[in-house]
Structure formats: C-alpha cells, structure tokens
C-alpha cells in the first residue's frame, strides 16, 4: 500500500459476524485442510510401498491421540467442504439467496457435517 495520508476505516475488526460470512471462510479453511489431509494419505501409500518398517511407523503416528485428531479433523473437513460446495452450487443456480433460506440451509449443513463426521468415525473405528 502507498502511504495514503487518509486512514482506512476499520473493517474485519469491528464487523458483526453472521453464519453466511462464517460459512464462506469455513469453505476455504476446509479446502486447505482437505489438501493437507491428502498429503497424509499420500504418506500412507508411500509408507505401504516402502516396506513394513515404514508402514508400522505410519500406523504408530496415526494411531496416537494426535494422529487420531488429525484424521478426525480431516474427515470433518471432507464433509464440511462437500456440503459447503453443494451450497455454493445451489447458490450459483439461484437458490438459497434470501437471508432466511441461506441461514436455514447453513445451519442444516453444519448439523449434517457433525452427524456424518461422527457417524463415519464410529462406523470406521468401532468407537476407538
């Protein structure tokens, strides 16, 4: 930025957040998290191709509490990005563009993300 003598008025610092504004940034954050999670999956494949020692190391890291947190977060990000992506698709088709419908659908996809994440986690791990 050039040295504009005029101050810039406050923006993000003072804005009162809403669900639709949060979902827009969640969509991007989930996108980054999914991309990062794919690196973990690549490590899984690479470890399997390298040999038993590397694979055991991968399993050890991912079955630690921290590793489980990473996997759980990855799962949540996949679902969230799936649903927010669907939301963008519908909005681009001209739906959900009133405050009421956008808020209702937004709340629904947050609930759906929580439900599918927990359901899938327990389905895959048997509750571990």
């Amino acid at each position: 930025m050039s040295a504009d003598p005029r101050p810039l008025s406050p923006h993000l610092q003072i804005w009162k957040w809403s669900l639709t504004m949060a979902l827009s940034i969640f969509h991007r954050a989930a996108n980054i998290a999914v991309a990062a999670g794919v690196v973990v999956l690549t490590w899984w494949l690479a470890a399997a191709a390298t040999g038993p020692a590397a694979y055991d190391q991968f399993i050890m890291v991912l079955s630690s509490p921290f590793g489980k947190l990473i996997l759980f977060g990855f799962l949540a990000a996949v679902y969230l990005h799936l649903f927010t992506g669907l939301r963008h698709f519908l909005m681009d088709m001209g739906y959900l563009l009133t405050i009421k419908t956008a808020d209702q659908f937004g709340a629904a996809i947050l609930l759906a993300t929580a439900f599918f994440t927990v359901f899938t986690w327990f389905f895959l791990t048997g509750g571990m």
Binding site: H11, D92, G94
Partner: protein, 264 residues
C-alpha cells in the same frame, strides 16, 4: 491481496469522554464515535459521548445531531433527508452498516459504537471518500442505451416488465438509493475493491440489464465478463443482510451470473 489488519496510520486509539448528563437525567446512553481530524497528524480515535436520550429523537441520527448541536460542533457526518431515501447517513452502527436515520437507538444493546463505512479512506470523522465507488458506478454506464428509433413519446413498458425493476414488493433494484452500505459490508470488496465492482454497483448493473427498454444487454454483460468485476462475489451475503432498504444485491449478482451462462 487481503490485508486483515489496519495500516499504522489507521489504528484507532481511545479518545476523549464527554458527559452531557446531569443528576436529573433518567435516560442516559453512551455513544462511542469514530473521530479523525485531517488537520492533525494524529491517528483516528474513539470519543465517547454520554447523553440524555430524552433530549433527542429516537434514531441514531437524532443522537448524532444532538451531539453536534450541543456537545461537540466539530463532529462531522453526512446527512440530509432523515427518512431513509437520500442514503447520506450510511455508517457502521453496532458492527453493521445501516442508515443512521433508520436505526432506532433502542435496537442497540449497551454502548452505541458508530464508525464510518468499513474499509474506506476517511476524510473526516464519519465521512468516507466515495470517489472510487462512484467512478465504478459511472463505469457501468447507468443510463438507458437504445438503438431503435425513438418513439414520439416516452418508451413504454408493461406493468409486468416494470416489476423487474421495482419488484412486486417494492424491493427491486430500482429501489436502491446508492448508500453503499452493501459494498462496504462485503469482504470481497474490502480485499479486491480496486477491481471488483461490489454489490451496490452490480445491483445497478442488473437494474439496467433487466430493463426491457434497454437495448445494450449484450454489451453490458461483455463489460462484466471478467474474473474480478463480477466473479469476486462468493455469496457471503453480507450485502443482503446489511441493506437498510431490504433489497437483495446477492440475488441480483446471481441473476447476472446465470445470464452469463445462459448466453454461452
């Protein structure tokens, strides 16, 4: 590139506190008002004014006028019609953009924070410099363009066609008063306002595109077919939420995007 923090010269400091209440005041309220004086080199500050609400009208604009009349005559803000049709007193009140004249004080809980429209260069106090956004408005050529022979009298339009402009509920694009509450509420416009036209201007673009008397629709769509001018809208919907007239710029932008696809 998005800059999430304020530049050094824009950081807001704590200002003076004025108390205009007395022992007999029953209805005291504190207003925290953004101040910037271009004659000093000082950073902007938040002054607080504690006033007696029984001495002014019910709207935030009434409180500002009371402060200017009776406490600090230097307080600077735009206002004119005081009934929500001129768009002059657009400002950020309690974290949301609206018209001070349409915002009842009792809708705000606690202290009433008043700042200029967000992410704009500030000329003085609550007055932003709108030169750029007005130039963007001019760039969409907001007038009727025709090639057909002009009729002897005005160009007529059916009631149904007029509904595209006025809206059956009176909230169509022609009800926009260009207060710029929406554009300055939009994070995309904050980060890319140099090239993204923003919701107010795109709503006006839609107003001319959807006018059945206008004959330059193709030309208008060509001008918007650009990664920045139109497509920085990510349906954050702050525009629709903040519009003091209850209009829906997000819907208008979606309609333009749909036309872009339909004409391919």
């Amino acid at each position: 590139m998005a800059q999430f923090t304020l530049p050094q010269n824009s950081k807001v400091t704590e200002g003076q506190a004025h108390n205009a209440t007395s022992a007999t005041t029953k209805n005291a309220r504190t207003f925290r008002v953004y101040r910037y004086d271009p004659d000093t080199k000082e950073n902007p500050r938040m002054d607080s004014f504690t006033i007696d609400l029984d001495k002014c009208g019910p709207m935030v604009l009434d409180a500002l006028i009371h402060i200017k009349n009776d406490i600090d005559t230097g307080l600077t803000f735009r206002r004119s019609c005081r009934e929500g049709i001129c768009g002059s007193c657009a400002m950020n009140i309690d974290g949301t953009n609206t018209l001070a004249c349409l915002k009842p004080i009792d809708e705000v809980k606690g202290d009433v924070a008043i700042r200029p429209l967000p992410h704009m260069p500030v000329m003085k106090d609550l007055v932003p410099d709108i030169t750029h956004i007005v130039a963007q408005y001019a760039s969409i050529e907001p007038w009727m363009k025709t090639e057909s022979q002009a009729p002897a009298r005005e160009r007529l339009q059916s009631a149904q066609d007029a509904d595209h402009l006025n809206g059956t509920d009176g909230k169509g694009p022609s009800a926009c008063i260009l207060c710029f509450c929406c554009s300055t509420s939009c994070p995309s416009y904050w980060w890319n306002g140099d090239r993204f036209l923003g919701p107010a201007i795109l709503l006006q673009a839609w107003r001319w595109i959807s006018d059945t008397r206008d004959e330059a629709t193709g030309e208008r769509l060509d001008a918007l077919e650009d990664p920045f001018r139109l497509y920085r809208c990510h349906t954050i919907m702050n525009c629709t939420r903040t519009c003091p007239k209850g209009l829906n710029p997000a819907q208008a932008i979606a309609e333009i995007k749909k036309l872009m696809v339909a004409r391919q």
